[in-house]
């Protein structure tokens, strides 16, 4: 999915579990969380991409109408979607970090076999987990804090 977004020219930063994994987390994550640039031309590219993947809303009765277009992104910029490629959560800001510009500034480049992209830094990931304060994030907080300490320790040596 990350490679598909890159191919479509979508400007985004990977946040959440995949970003944590890139920083050394051992947790398994099956969905992709991204913060996207809300500029109209970028939203257009993102809309076209996820529409092409037959995106629909997660956990909602298919009987409800769902219009996947730029206006929906403008009215409800945070969406939890399921696509042919897998689950994807999209948002235009990250709690504890800020809007896309702040998120981009707090991101680092990551290279995988399929694509080069940007992911939220470990410190910013921690800030977002602290800000959301959800019980389900508590375990990951311990892991991320340990990783940060280990990374800082190895840099000092």
């Amino acid at each position: 999915m990350v490679a598909g977004l890159c191919e479509a020219g979508v400007e985004f930063v990977v946040i959440g579990g995949l970003a944590a994994r890139a920083h050394g987390s051992v947790r398994i994550t099956e969905d992709l969380d991204i913060c996207y640039n809300p500029a109209p031309e970028n939203v257009q590219r993102l809309t076209a991409r996820v529409r092409g993947w037959n995106a629909h809303l997660r956990g909602v009765d298919r009987g409800l109408p769902f219009i996947m277009d730029e206006r929906t992104f403008r009215d409800t910029p945070v969406m939890t979607l399921v696509t042919d490629q897998g689950a994807i959560d999209v948002m235009d800001r990250v709690l504890g970090v800020g809007d896309y510009a702040d998120v981009y500034a707090a991101s680092v480049p990551v290279k995988s076999d399929q694509a080069s992209f940007r992911a939220l830094s470990l410190a910013a990931l921690l800030a977002s987990k602290h800000a959301t304060g959800r019980p389900k994030d508590r375990e990951q907080l311990h892991e991320l804090e340990a990783l940060l300490e280990m990374k800082r320790g190895s840099r000092r040596r």
Partner: protein, 164 residues
């Protein structure tokens, strides 16, 4: 359903919801149907500048017209002013917020943060996290870590397929 979850579906802050309940004199309790109504009443109230007590019955009528009417129209008695509500668009936005509330809402931690913390690694170890696994992961490059994630996901999916 909790207030925070309900407010997410309405598309408002919890404080706004509590005020709206007082203004509309609604019985206590939060459910998805009421969130759907209140969300539209709120949009009409904000877009038209009419009081919530007037937008509430309009929202009820507009939603009752779905699915027969995708665009609900209401004329004033003189036939001078016509109100149009794109019910399909509204329900689509409602569905997005509903999905968000159902998928992501997990409540927040109560109470103050603990004091006297031991620090990242010590606390993670005390919590039961395998620090050895983290050390191994840190020895890999990000690309190797992501490749391993793909292998892990494939393994878990294969396990699911194998379940009776």
């Amino acid at each position: 359903m909790k207030l925070g979850q309900f407010a997410t579906i309405v598309g408002a802050l919890p404080r706004w919801v509590q005020n709206a309940y007082q203004v509309l004199q609604l019985d206590p309790g939060y459910d998805e149907e009421r969130a759907k109504l209140l969300g539209l009443a709120r949009q009409l109230h904000e877009a038209l500048g009419i009081p919530l007590v007037e937008s509430w019955p309009l929202a009820q009528e507009a939603l009752a017209a779905w699915p027969d009417q995708e665009i609900w129209r209401c004329e004033d008695t003189a036939g001078v002013v016509t109100l149009e509500v794109d019910v399909r668009r509204y329900l689509s936005n409602y569905a997005v917020r509903l999905s968000l509330a159902r998928s992501s809402y997990g409540g927040t931690k109560r109470g103050r943060p603990r004091k006297g913390r031991k620090g990242g690694v010590a606390e993670a170890r005390a919590y039961g996290i395998d620090i050895g696994l983290l050390r191994e992961a840190l020895e890999r490059t990000p690309a190797e870590r992501l490749r391993r994630l793909e292998d892990d996901v494939a393994f878990v999916q294969a396990l699911r397929v194998a379940e009776p």
